[in-house]
């Protein structure tokens, strides 16, 4: 992998899609995916991520903007002229051809006569050498998925597009295939663009994640960056769980902002606040549940100085092995989530107990209070749909 080679860069400039019925699937967006990276488009269903992918593949004509692969403008090229291959959501293997011929399909279409060696090598890479003469319907879901990957990769595309490729697999197989795909990507060094609605999958596999919502990219960055510094309530809630507390700006001290929430004061580093801050203005204070420590109210004096603190009462506690998840009813927010590692369990932390929640101000982030505080929260109905 050479970083100077830019021939596998994907550049989308102002690309957008509005259907004839007036529905805008993708609002004009700019995106650059560097050569050799594992890039994930993450979002709930209907957010425009698959449409974006299909516009790169040439299966969907954009209504505005351009698609570049390296220096080549491919916006108006039909799919069969693009050096791009796709792993489809349902695999779309050819049912009348055996595994060997499915994998050889792309090579044969480009007029390559002696395909045997290449196909066998590729089938070995995905560990399906034994299945070459079987028909797709004779294979399991996971095997079909690997055939779909092999069939696309054998063409050495500049970019491999994966449209929810693991959606049809069960959880255990999905984990296994995530690692497998990551291994293959590292091995071949091709740019992968992966579309998924599963935030864990995106974070496990991708170097860079673009979170999409309602046809636009909400935020783009490395998984750690997105998780630690979400810029919008959607990202904060969609990637993992966030506690968002409404607060009022009180004053500034050095690099920190001091906020009033309920009766207490909270400190937030100015660099971690994406909202405009002026005295008296509103800000949403965010903190991840695993960053919070719980101390019984009787021991409140032992909490070190300089930590953000809130008081509350344990409403619910569920033990899930490695950690215990608490729901805390506090004056500033009636459902604060707190995850505590089960290292030294305090027997007094049971529902009904009065507690103090405290955390390092460095872990706090600030968001614009003008947004919907529940954006991106997955509800039960959405999950079922």
């Amino acid at each position: 992998m050479t970083t100077t080679d830019k021939s596998g860069d994907v550049r989308l400039s102002g690309i957008g899609k509005t259907y004839a019925n007036g529905f805008t699937a993708v609002r004009p967006l700019d995106l650059t995916v560097p050569q050799g990276s594992f890039f994930a488009l993450l979002g709930a269903s209907g957010c425009g991520k698959t449409t974006t992918l299909r516009m790169i593949a040439g299966l969907e004509e954009p209504t505005s903007g351009t698609v570049h692969l390296g220096d080549q403008d491919v916006t108006h090229l039909p799919p069969y002229k693009r050096p791009v291959n796709t792993v489809f959501q349902s695999y779309a293997l050819f049912p009348h051809l055996d595994i060997f011929e499915n994998v050889a399909f792309g090579l044969r279409r480009r007029g390559i006569k002696s395909v045997k060696k290449q196909v066998e090598e590729m089938l070995d890479l995905v560990q399906l050498g034994e299945q070459a003469r079987k028909k797709p319907h004779q294979l399991s879901g996971g095997q079909q998925q690997r055939v779909a990957v092999a069939r696309a990769l054998i063409n050495h595309p500049k970019v491999l597009l994966l449209d929810e490729p693991l959606g049809a697999l069960d959880l255990k197989l999905r984990r296994q295939m995530q690692l497998e795909l990551k291994r293959i990507q590292t091995e071949v060094g091709i740019t992968f663009i992966h579309v998924t609605h599963d935030q864990e999958e995106a974070m496990t596999m991708a170097d860079t994640v673009a979170v999409m919502n309602a046809g636009r990219v909400e935020q783009l960055g490395s998984p750690t960056d997105l998780y630690e510094n979400p810029n919008t309530t959607f990202v904060a809630n969609f990637l993992g769980t966030s506690n968002l507390i409404e607060a009022e700006v009180d004053s500034k001290t050095g690099d920190d902002i001091v906020l009033k929430a309920g009766g207490g004061k909270l400190v937030l580093p100015e660099a971690r606040c994406s909202a405009p801050t002026k005295a008296g203005g509103k800000v949403l204070v965010g903190i991840r549940p695993e960053k919070i420590s719980l101390t019984h109210a009787d021991d409140a004096g032992e909490i070190p100085e300089g930590r953000n603190r809130l008081t509350g009462k344990i409403a619910d506690a569920s033990f899930i092995g490695v950690s215990t998840q608490y729901v805390i009813d506090s004056p500033v927010c009636d459902e604060l989530a707190v995850y505590v590692q089960n290292v030294e369990r305090d027997g007094r932390l049971v529902p009904g107990a009065d507690v103090v929640l405290h955390w390092s101000p460095a872990h706090t982030f600030g968001l614009d209070a003008a947004q919907d505080i529940d954006a991106g929260v997955e509800t039960v109905e959405e999950e079922a749909a």
Partner: protein, 309 residues
């Protein structure tokens, strides 16, 4: 050996209670088969046996017929009427190919391109069935009439010169020629081609077309390598549903043809209803059946459809 005799006693008490509902259920499939089976016996198996026996009888209407195992009838029928047999196969094959050429693009359009017009076009395909077969065929007499607009146009374009040179038409007429009979056959059996084609094209996952395009197949290659092979079950059943009845048809040759375009169906009809030579008519029917069975078997073997889902 001793274990065999010891085994039953402990099982015995549980058996009667368990077995009775299962026993009743075991015969249900046969009861369900019974009406269809009876129908087949009365209207297919018995007439076949009767015809088979007729074909080896000798005698006359006045003195009655007797089974004399007179197999020579078969040989005589075949040696006298082989031109009509050949002609039937040719006409039916020509009509089948024409049906395929006309029907495939239409079925393809309905399956993939028709959008919200799909149902309307399907109704239009089936609509001719609301009129009688005879009336539809008679209508072709008007369409192909000697002084009608079609013959007039073909004549002025000198197309009829070409077709009569090939022996498909005679002079400046279309009626009473092989072309008219094949046209009639094609028209009448076209829906039998379109429906199975449509069904198998409709079942093809549209994403396979996208996948083929994504894997560097141009639209025409996608059709050749993906769409057409996947529609083979429809092609095979469509051609069979067209060829088999067309080979035995006599209405089209009767109404649109002449004595020179008689098909085997016409011969059988004449033998049965006018000459009243039942053994020859029965023998001809069996030869036709055997010939079609043979051709169909070879065809299915060669097209290898059992391999396709």
């Amino acid at each position: 050996m001793s274990t065999l005799t010891e085994a039953p006693p402990p099982l015995a008490p549980a058996e009667p209670a368990k077995k009775s509902p299962r026993k009743r259920g075991r015969f249900t499939p046969y009861w369900l088969l019974l009406p269809g089976l009876l129908w087949l016996v009365v209207f297919f198996a018995l007439p076949m046996i009767y015809q088979a026996s007729t074909s080896v009888q000798t005698g006359s209407l006045e003195q009655g017929y007797k089974v004399t195992w007179h197999f020579v009838t078969y040989w005589q029928a075949l040696s006298e009427y082989w031109p009509q047999f050949l002609r039937s196969v040719f006409y039916a094959a020509a009509a089948t190919i024409l049906c395929l050429l006309l029907g495939y693009p239409l079925a393809y359009t309905i399956a993939f391109r028709a959008g919200r017009w799909k149902n309307l076009i399907m109704i239009l395909v089936i609509a001719p069935f609301f009129t009688s077969f005879l009336i539809r065929t008679l209508a072709w007499k008007t369409i192909l009439a000697d002084n009608g607009p079609i013959v007039h146009t073909l004549n002025s374009l000198h197309i009829l010169d070409l077709t009569s040179f090939l022996g498909w038409t005679a002079g400046d007429r279309v009626l009473a020629t092989p072309l008219a009979v094949v046209c009639g056959l094609t028209y009448n059996f076209l829906p039998f081609m379109i429906l199975p084609l449509y069904t198998s094209l409709e079942r093809i996952d549209g994403r396979l077309h996208e996948a083929a395009g994504d894997l560097y197949a141009k639209p025409w290659t996608t059709f050749r390598k993906v769409t057409f092979p996947l529609s083979m079950p429809g092609v095979v059943s469509g051609t069979l549903l067209t060829f088999i009845p067309a080979a035995g048809d006599y209405v089209n040759a009767e109404l649109l043809g002449s004595t020179d375009t008689r098909m085997i169906g016409n011969v059988i009809q004449t033998q049965f209803l006018r000459i009243l030579d039942y053994p020859t008519a029965a023998a001809l029917s069996f030869i036709l059946m055997a010939a079609i069975l043979f051709m169909v078997t070879v065809y299915i073997r060669r097209s290898g459809t059992e391999d396709l889902v």
